[in-house]
Symmetry: C2
Subunit: 355 residues, 2 copies
């Protein structure tokens, strides 16, 4: 690769690598935390209706209807809601909007691996605070003295939830810096920090429709916070891309925010499947962390994670593994349907018996 024409600030970057999207063969896909159930029929109907001649026109750059629906859902005012192209984009915009060069941003060493990528992209100082041995958060290390903090709740890839009290303590102890809470997985059993927003003007909460609303393919995410924080995100967005959400996504997102019944039904199904799968994996000897997300984080004492992952792939099941210190033997297993989880468990059994 000839990087002669690359900007000096990107030559050393290592981009984020998303989970594999296989094109060649059909897998049971438990590697990217997608929802096994399709989006609500109302959402698909709204998306198809939006795919009409009006696509010749720009979308609403302010996403007013979608923001109103989310404001209603979360009990906020529309000016407290920012919408973007999936929570990845929203997180990127928040990093740029809230964190300043020369001021250290902190986040755990084991968490969503995109955070250090954003920090490096934007030339931010950061420190990865080691989680405790049991993957709990060393809250005291997040209490002030830094230029911002990012907490994923429940955490990825461990699935572990933070008590709301911890988020409150962190927000309280950082009155001069923004605390970004990434709640991509919150609907599967953790407690949202949204009710703290009106108390803490430095608290921003990021969410997505990719997981609990089955819309990974539609790219819908948001940030919630004080109107002043949200204005900061808008300032960056409007200096980069006026229209990150297309007309179909806006319509689908609004319908998804409004259809609470389907949302409740599918997320509860996934949580029930998760508990059954966790029990089954524990029977097979796996160490499985309690999860409040739509995935399990599990390791087997008798089999390296790498071998398990490859054995599963050979048997048509994709799971994710992060080749990083402390967690290289863990599999992050997305929750599929009961049938898919049963196939996963049977494949694990076969691999373990074959050793």
């Amino acid at each position: 690769m000839d990087k002669r024409y690359w900007s000096s600030r990107i030559r050393a970057l290592e981009p984020y690598v998303p989970g594999e999207q296989p094109k060649d063969r059909v897998f049971i896909k438990l590697n990217t935390n997608e929802n096994p159930y399709p989006p609500s029929p109302r959402v698909l109907e709204a998306a198809r209706r939006a795919a009409d001649g009006s696509l010749r026109l720009y979308p609403d750059p302010e996403a007013c209807a979608l923001r109103a629906a989310l404001a209603e859902l979360y009990g906020l005012r529309p000016e407290q809601v920012f919408c973007g192209n999936g929570s990845d984009e929203v997180l990127g915009l928040c990093f740029y909007a809230f964190f300043s060069p020369g001021k250290k941003v902190v986040f755990p060493d084991i968490t969503y691996s995109f955070y250090p990528v954003y920090a490096r992209l934007f030339g931010l100082d950061f420190e990865e605070i080691p989680l405790n041995g049991d993957f709990t958060l060393p809250v005291e290390k997040f209490l002030g003295g830094n230029g911002g903090a990012v907490v994923c709740n429940p955490n990825a890839p461990t699935g572990r939830a933070q008590p709301l009290e911890n988020i409150r303590r962190i927000a309280q102890a950082n009155p001069d810096a923004v605390v970004l809470v990434d709640e991509a997985y919150v609907d599967f059993g953790a407690e949202s920090a949204v009710p703290l927003i009106d108390e803490y003007p430095n608290l921003a909460v990021v969410g997505t429709m990719s997981k609990s609303r089955s819309l990974a393919g539609m790219r819908l995410g948001w940030a919630l916070g004080s109107a002043d924080l949200i204005a900061g995100v808008n300032c960056v967005k409007n200096s980069f891309n006026s229209y990150p959400l297309d007309r179909v996504a806006l319509a689908a997102g609004q319908a998804a925010a409004e259809d609470r019944e389907y949302f409740e039904e599918t997320r509860h199904k996934i949580m029930a499947t998760r508990e059954r799968a966790a029990a089954r994996l524990r029977e097979l000897g796996f160490a499985v962390h309690d999860s409040s997300a739509n995935f399990l984080f599990a390791a087997h004492p008798d089999c390296p994670g790498k071998d398990l992952q490859q054995g599963l792939r050979d048997r048509g099941v994709l799971v994710r593994r992060f080749d990083r210190p402390r967690i290289e033997n863990y599999l992050r297993i997305s929750i599929g349907t009961d049938e898919e989880m049963e196939a996963l468990c049977r494949a694990c059994e076969e691999i373990l018996n074959g050793r």
Copy 2:
């Protein structure tokens, strides 16, 4: 606005302001260079088909099918094609990927007003080179000694096209810096620089489906260049947002790239309407620049642009005006249908007669 929690680098930004998207009443909308014709029926069919249960899955982060279709269209290899969320996002990513802090980027003073916004957002030095009095490009001022150049061809908001020879001279004279050619409007009568890509490894050409393919509402743009340049854009994109294009946009974009017949038909209709409207406006006493875009740039010697714009608005017609030195009396009038342009001309006549 309390900017206490904003990053030090965004506090002084002035974001780009897109043209108005009216919500309250129905206007003849000639203010944002949208296409008056709907997208091809094949595109709408592909978009609706994509709005199915598979939206639960992430889109292809590499947009392989769309890139293959565009590579075929432009006679390039897929690794020479980058796809993003509209050409605004693509331009932003290119500014970050190719231009380095401390090295001056040059572009005209009268051009797409997003360029200085990107430069300020990313802390880049830049110089706005004054266009000649007749809005032609002072090519000699773009010949080297800088950290990058951006040329919009045809230029916005003037509509004036560059001869390909000028682009070649600029690319040739800047062997150490990237020359970014923004061809958002090229399909309405200018000559594309794409055939120069294999000759100049420093040449990147940006395009969009918002104008000539009637897909402003779908957010589809691209950059074309050497594989090494495109890898640089991918490096930034993959450090920011793995999936800027949703599944519906990918499907719609592919269908649009493949349907050349509809594309040829509608762009020729628009060019014919443009010439009729230009003639009609000249009859009314307007100074109208020759345009190779889907808009006209026109001023009237007897009436300030501000009054014309307001008078048109009062009569239900939106046009765009930029309150900047040298062009504050010009209206940028998007080409609508023949009927819409006739309504515009009648409204202008009424305003001028009423003075």
